[in-house]
Subunit: 228 residues, 2 copies
Amino acid sequence: MRTLSPPVGLPALADTDLVGQVARVLTQAVVEGRLAPGSKVVEAGIARELGVSRAPVREAARLLEQQGLLVASPRRGFFVRKFAADDIDDIYDLRLCVERHAAVLAARNLTPETRDMLRRQIDVLHQTADLDDPARQVEEDYRFHRLICEVAANRRLLRLFDDLASELRMVIGLIGRLYDDPHEIARTHEPVLAAIEQGHPERIVAHVDYHIGHAWREVSKLVREIPA
Amino acid sequence: MRTLSPPVGLPALADTDLVGQVARVLTQAVVEGRLAPGSKVVEAGIARELGVSRAPVREAARLLEQQGLLVASPRRGFFVRKFAADDIDDIYDLRLCVERHAAVLAARNLTPETRDMLRRQIDVLHQTADLDDPARQVEEDYRFHRLICEVAANRRLLRLFDDLASELRMVIGLIGRLYDDPHEIARTHEPVLAAIEQGHPERIVAHVDYHIGHAWREVSKLVREIPA
DNA sequence: TAGACGTCGATTGTCGACAGTTTAGACTTG
DNA sequence: CAAGTCTAAACTGTCGACAATCGACGTCTA
């Protein structure tokens, strides 16, 4: 078998790596809400549906467990992670801690090239805002934040950001529509970049705090409104 | 088969979970340097040595890959992670970021009970210093820092600390003897706790910075001296 | 009728096997 | 003698199978 056929069409980056493919399909299914939180992930079922054996499915599940999308219960199998309001707080608290640091480092490493990359991404955010595609908007939002982590040039930090983002993607998938006014969200990124360009650590932290704190409160509110 | 026989006697917490056991045995082998950095981890070899099949070994390896102890090269297998000086910097940079935050949170959550736990752990550090058991000393050191993360009460933060610690354990395993004067190290923990008890964020950060920065410089120096 | 017990199907944990790929070593050639 | 080529062994990725275990349903008893 060459490429898995995900229930709904995916980029399907033609990997020869089954485990990676299965992991991607499962991740998509989770963040898109096709696998409801708390529901059981039956190895054989997934394997059959994807036309592979259970071995790659198990390994993929273990991967996603480490990523926090699934939880393993010995002898009972894997379940789609359930999020509580506490989890949101944990994630955002850590994200804030990480992104503050990333932004300060990014300011230190900033070059004309990387600065332009960040600016361009804000432009993309504005352009995407016209598209009325919430999922895309969320992705481009993360891309901006991820860029900051890339510029910070600490691989582990970047990986941590990716892990947190994948958890948040799931939460946001549950919430559904997140942004009332995408353009306004795009605008709120500008002071962050400005602070990074100016380079005062305190100012950077303050703006990152404001920006992410806003998202935190928003997501927190929505999760408390629409709980499982 | 009931309990795996690790090359050298381990606690062997009689789990019925083979994957967990294999992961523990492999971790031990790596941090104790029996598996040299860069060396290949042959699935069948490990499986044979441990009297299990390859499936649990593969899953354990995937776990350790996510933990950063092994790296996977498709179709070529797993290798014991090699550390460069850059890695040390990445790890300590992130650790500093995390522990600053943890300490500030810990101060906020501090109760008489948790304060006593931290104090007692410093006592343990002093007692251990008399034992001339470097591995144990390192473990008790981590336990103190881990306690701070526990008091901080953010599960994800705690997990991140554990991940970083497991990577550092490996590095320190490579270095061998780390502390010249264990008692002095034990003493340097005291200002950190004192700052947490007093509760001024700036002071806390300053002391954490000093304490961890010291370790950072020390480890960094030793790694640069004794590279692969 | 409510609760405890036993049975049966479904699912996981583990295993051995096979095919395709990589690697190491022998052999050839300039 | 060095470099390239070919061959064989070793290893990974994947699969299907089997035993152990868990959960649900039905049955028996008070």
